[in-house]
Subunit: 284 residues, 2 copies
């Protein structure tokens, strides 16, 4: 392994959705750029968690002195692809005081009475925070496209609205990292089967999972379209092979570290006179 | 060590604020009920984190099937007592998807235009969640008493309002755990001094910390009054000696585990026909 992050080449370069990207050419069982084994990856994940933790604390610290910066991780994937694992194992290593997580469910009646971005805007991370969207505004161009809940003209409007929204966020200081975890339909079948086989996991299973599974090709098409329309320079998509959970976690961790590092963070100086405060404290 | 939790007697019994409790008799450097060393405590903290994680997941799972239960940890303390460490090291071991953390700062103008409980009620945990209040409605009977921002009649009203509010929460399924971390003024001095000595920690220091430090006796009196008025059977206070950070973390973790266990949680059964779903999956 060539570098401190254990990858031969940065996941940012390897996994980014650029021009001519084809989702159906992604090998979901691969581990691009990483030649180690599962055990190496787990060790590295634990080591790099400290780096991510320090960066997050710097972001938080800077915000206390007026910096208007944040990071937003957007997670999208088919069921069982491992969004939850990313949240618990990657985001979970960061101090909860610096994390703002929101899981978007089916919209409420109130949310439906607004434009689709209304409920999203309310949940963007505060300055200093790592925001995490478990599902997001992309549902409105994914499941909506798959089931025909929005027509082509409306979808076109939404792609543009998303790009404007994300460009605005970026301008205002939010670094956006959009991740799609890619598994194969066979992997999903195995994971659903494992849920059914273990009574402790039954609560995670819903018959609706199979209903959506039947639309797999349509979902892949909807993702492909979304990538073509919304993978921009300021808010690019990354497609992360996720049949190997340990690879997906390591890659997303590295994408986050990379995003934080691009912000040139540092420990802020205090806004007090050190000698004075030392004297005051001694006298107290 | 006599039991699975490593304490000779449950922290619930040792640390609870009962009748005749005197804050000034608490030995903040003690480790009640625990005879191990720091290293033992750290190992135990890591081990017991798994138990806490399972319990939290059960609470979350039950909520998916209609259970209306949650846990609320209320943290109060003087500056540097270690609230942040409890959040990062105890709460931080729990899956972020099951945690709802809110840090209460000085109220906004909008919040001040309502009764003091208005902003609190908005942040109570959803069903299935471990809610954490970093500071809370108790500020309104602590700093407000210390600085005379509320008179005796108003404070009396607030104690009663708090008891009604917490009794209602409890009735509605929220298990409340109220923790005050107790350090000595000398420990605070050392910790503030350490912050001033390390430029990386300067951002955590504010000259205002010393201003409040000067009111130490008044704060202790305000805590004593709050305990007398609001340590109830359904929402008792626990005073946790916190000069030893490792002890405070272990004790709070155990208080949480105890609270979860009192709720008799279990893995919910799925609401589907297993044979049918296995067939559907096989055919998919």
């Amino acid at each position: 392994m060539a570098s401190k992050h254990g990858f031969k080449k940065s996941p940012r370069d390897l996994l980014v959705v650029g021009q001519d990207f084809q989702l159906d050419r992604v090998e979901s069982s691969a581990a691009p750029g990483f030649s180690g084994k599962k055990r190496d990856a787990e060790q590295l994940l634990a080591d790099r968690a400290r780096r991510l933790g320090v960066l997050q604390e710097q972001l938080f610290a800077e915000s206390k002195f007026g910096a208007e910066k944040s990071v937003l991780l957007v997670l999208q994937a088919m069921d069982t692809a491992g969004k939850g694992g990313i949240v618990s194992h990657v985001v979970g290593s960061v101090d909860p005081q610096g994390v703002q997580l929101h899981a978007f469910k089916a919209p409420t009646d109130e949310e439906k009475s607004h434009d689709f971005l209304w409920r999203i805007q309310k949940e963007v991370p505060r300055h200093g925070m790592l925001g995490v969207f478990d599902r997001s505004h992309y549902e409105d161009v994914l499941i909506h496209r798959v089931h025909g809940w929005a027509d082509e003209a409306e979808l076109t409007r939404r792609y543009a609205a998303i790009n404007d929204f994300e460009a605005g966020l970026n301008e205002a200081g939010t670094k956006i990292v959009k991740v799609m975890l890619q598994i194969s339909p066979e992997t999903q079948k195995e994971r659903l089967s494992a849920r059914l086989a273990d009574p402790i996991k039954h609560w995670k299973y819903s018959p609706g999972d199979l209903t959506e599974r039947a639309f797999w090709p349509q979902y892949m098409e909807a993702y492909q379209k979304a990538f073509e329309q919304t993978s921009t320079e300021t808010a690019p998509w990354y497609v992360v092979p996720a049949d190997k959970k340990w690879y997906a976690r390591l890659a997303v961790q590295e994408l986050l570290i990379d995003a934080f590092e691009s912000m040139k963070l540092d420990w802020p100086k205090g806004d007090f006179d050190l000698a004075t405060e030392k004297k005051r404290l001694a006298a107290s």
